[in-house]
């Protein structure tokens, strides 16, 4: 790769676009305007063509002005369809998007056949061509970036309120319509500026992909804007460098690919919201349930007459729930380590602490059965399965409350004693 003037332009341009797109994309995502921004991008295409036909000019100002007008017309057309027909929002957006885009394609094909048109290079608006960016474009893009960042910093709390709770904003007397119009206008501006770089088709990805990825990593809007802008800028620079280095890789798709990789990574791995995290969480819960069941089984064996704290052999325990010996031993290992359990060969028994822990689980089970039977008047054979689940889910707090409300019953509906700390 040569560090040419063009490469530098493309790099700077893509990073700036990624940054602004990422920031505004957060608002589009949170205000559920994802589809709308896609429609805005598609609706801009006929505007570019008409501007060229009317003026014969290829200068970015003229073409982008055309795009802007068409984008705004598209937005109003969507509103008009929603207000004046029974067509719902998603369908209205889909219809306007395809009608405008269709007109755009027809015009584009026609222009290509004109003597003056075949060199026009208007087709770059379809998939974008960052390499055509000149210093003028960079200057325009820088101005838009500054404008967007300035507006978002100045009106951060208002934009946040309007995005979260529109109605409350109205009741506070904020000019909600104006603020929303401002946000949407900035969105249109960035979409239009981005068209010649990434194209009509992929524009929406530069807005939404960084935003969706950023949402995974934070629970605060300010941080989300920063992370999203950062992801956008990184995708822009990495993507544009990749397309400059590797032959025949177009810039727009390269940028979108980079941000998509970041998105997939975020969806999988982000703490709390990531899929891997959720799977680990499930595993942990499952293991805890297995341990609690083992404690309970030992307790119940003790209750049946052999006495709490007596040794129970593994084959007997395996019989209770049809579990494998190795699975039981895996659960047992942690319990032994926490000195709730003792193991000797293939025999297990509860320690004093273990008896207390097991009693807690049994208490939850039997209190829940009592509750179901008394309050919901379920027959005794309906109680067990539900209680098997609830014994692992109820917190000590809720169970104490339950106990109090039931008047501290001595026995459950099956006549078994309900164990308590004191006893």
């Amino acid at each position: 790769m040569e560090w040419t003037y063009t490469v530098r332009n493309v790099l700077v341009g893509s990073s700036l676009l990624g940054l602004t797109g990422g920031v505004l994309g957060c608002f589009a995502l949170l205000r559920r305007q994802s589809l709308l921004s896609d429609a805005l991008a598609h609706a801009a295409l006929p505007g570019v063509c008409v501007a060229f036909l009317l003026t014969g000019s290829k200068s970015p100002e003229v073409l982008l002005a055309g795009a802007m007008v068409a984008g705004i017309l598209g937005a109003f057309a969507i509103l008009g369809v929603i207000r004046n027909s029974r067509i719902k929002e998603d369908a209205a957006i889909g219809i306007i998007l395809s009608v405008f885009f269709g007109i755009g394609i027809v015009l584009l094909t026609w222009i290509q056949k004109l003597p003056s048109g075949n060199q026009s290079g208007l087709d770059r608006f379809l998939f974008g061509q960052a390499a055509t960016m000149g210093t003028d474009d960079i200057r325009l893009l820088s101005a838009v970036t500054l404008l967007v960042l300035f507006a978002v910093v100045l009106f951060f709390k208002e934009f946040k309120l309007v995005s979260f709770d529109h109605g409350f904003g109205v009741s506070l007397g904020l000019p909600v319509k104006l603020l929303e119009f401002g946000l949407t206008s900035l969105l249109v501006l960035v979409v239009v500026i981005g068209l010649q770089m990434v194209g009509v088709v992929l524009m929406v990805a530069t807005l939404l992909t960084p935003a969706a990825a950023a949402r995974q990593w934070t629970d605060r809007l300010g941080a989300m804007l920063l992370v999203s802008g950062g992801i956008g800028a990184v995708s822009g620079s990495v993507g544009s460098l990749a397309s400059a280095t590797i032959p025949r890789v177009p810039t727009g798709p390269a940028i979108v690919l980079v941000s998509s990789v970041i998105l997939v990574f975020s969806l999988m791995l982000a703490p709390r919201r990531g899929m891997v995290w959720a799977m680990l969480q499930d595993r942990l819960v499952e293991r805890r349930i297995r341990r609690e069941n083992l404690l309970k089984d030992l307790y119940l064996a003790g209750e049946r007459g052999i006495g709490f704290g007596s040794w129970v052999t593994l084959p007997i325990l395996m019989g209770y729930r049809g579990l494998s010996g190795s699975g039981l031993l895996r659960s047992a290992r942690r319990l032994v380590k926490n000195s709730l359990l003792e193991r000797s060969g293939d025999q297990l028994r509860l320690t004093a602490d273990g008896i207390r822990e097991a009693a807690k689980v049994v208490r939850k089970h039997r209190l829940w059965e009592s509750y179901l039977s008394r309050r919901l008047e379920l027959p005794p054979d309906h109680l067990h399965r539900d209680a098997e689940m609830m014994e692992h889910a109820l917190s000590d707090e809720v169970v104490d409350d339950l106990d109090r409300r039931l008047g501290y019953p001595e026995r459950d509906p099956h006549g078994k004693p309900i164990p308590r700390e004191a006893s």
Binding site: L154, K157, E158, D165, G167, S171, T218, D219, L221, M224
Partner: protein
């Protein structure tokens, strides 16, 4: 903050609604409603689904525009009395997965006071925290709002209204915890769904079903006869008139 007895009475009705008609598209939702809510009362608005209870609140707040009639808050239009009014919307009206913390939501109640171009400061965060504490959920201030239970989310909204430090509270959500706002001279209007608890919690009731059935002190107005009128279906002439109007508008459009 609202200290006990800090708000002197004005002697004006907290809300006055005169000849109010509201229509969504051409579908009337409220019809010729006249209503006076005296200040310092705990007021329940009751009525069946679709009776226009939420719409009445939203019209008072200027969120929905009326077709005819007018609304006043303490003798003035809402726009000039805004800082006197606190609002609790329905919990379902927002996306609780929005990236923000409980305390940030409560701080939104102070935006009117903070003003443009300024960020909430430490003082504002402290007010927000104390409002959460008054509702017993101060320990949840730093939680992301989707990690709150439904009841806790309601309390966050209520805390936000408390932060508005208003003398009239409009609540589109039946709430346990209304007592946190009660104070002499403060008026609370709640859309309430549990008829049984009306006499227990409220001293004033508004029975609404598209038109105003009755409004007044609970012991006078909350009668079996009025409830029968409210819930026993709409007055058939009114319903038929509404349908006729809707039909004529619909044909006009086509």
């Amino acid at each position: 903050m609202t200290g006990a007895g800090a708000v002197p009475k004005t002697g004006l009705p907290a809300v006055e609604v005169h000849d109010l008609t509201v229509a969504y598209r051409s579908n009337p939702v409220l019809w010729d409603v006249d209503l006076k809510v005296p200040e310092g009362r705990l007021v329940a608005i009751v009525g069946p689904n679709g009776a226009g209870k939420s719409t009445l609140l939203k019209t008072i707040l200027g969120q929905v525009r009326q077709t005819t009639g007018w609304v006043q808050v303490y003798g003035e239009p809402y726009a000039t009395r805004r800082s006197w009014v606190g609002y609790v919307p329905q919990r379902e009206s927002v996306d609780w997965d929005f990236p923000t913390l409980a305390q940030d939501v409560v701080t939104m109640g102070l935006y009117g006071r903070i003003g443009w171009l300024r960020r909430p400061g430490r003082r504002h965060r402290e007010i927000a925290l104390s409002c959460l504490e008054r509702l017993g959920i101060g320990h949840l201030a730093g939680r992301q709002i989707s990690q709150l239970s439904g009841g806790q989310q309601q309390r966050v909204f209520l805390a936000r209204a408390l932060a508005q430090d208003a003398r009239l509270y409009l609540m589109d959500e039946p709430l346990a915890g209304v007592d946190a706002t009660t104070e002499k001279a403060i008026t609370v209007v709640v859309v309430h769904h549990d008829l049984q608890t009306v006499p227990e919690y409220f001293d004033h009731v508004v029975l609404l079903n598209m038109r105003l059935v009755a409004a007044g002190a609970v012991e006078e107005v909350f009668t079996a006869e009025n409830l029968q009128q409210t819930y026993g279906g709409r007055s058939s002439i009114l319903t038929r008139a509404a349908e006729a109007l809707f039909a004529s508008k619909a044909t006009l459009k086509e």
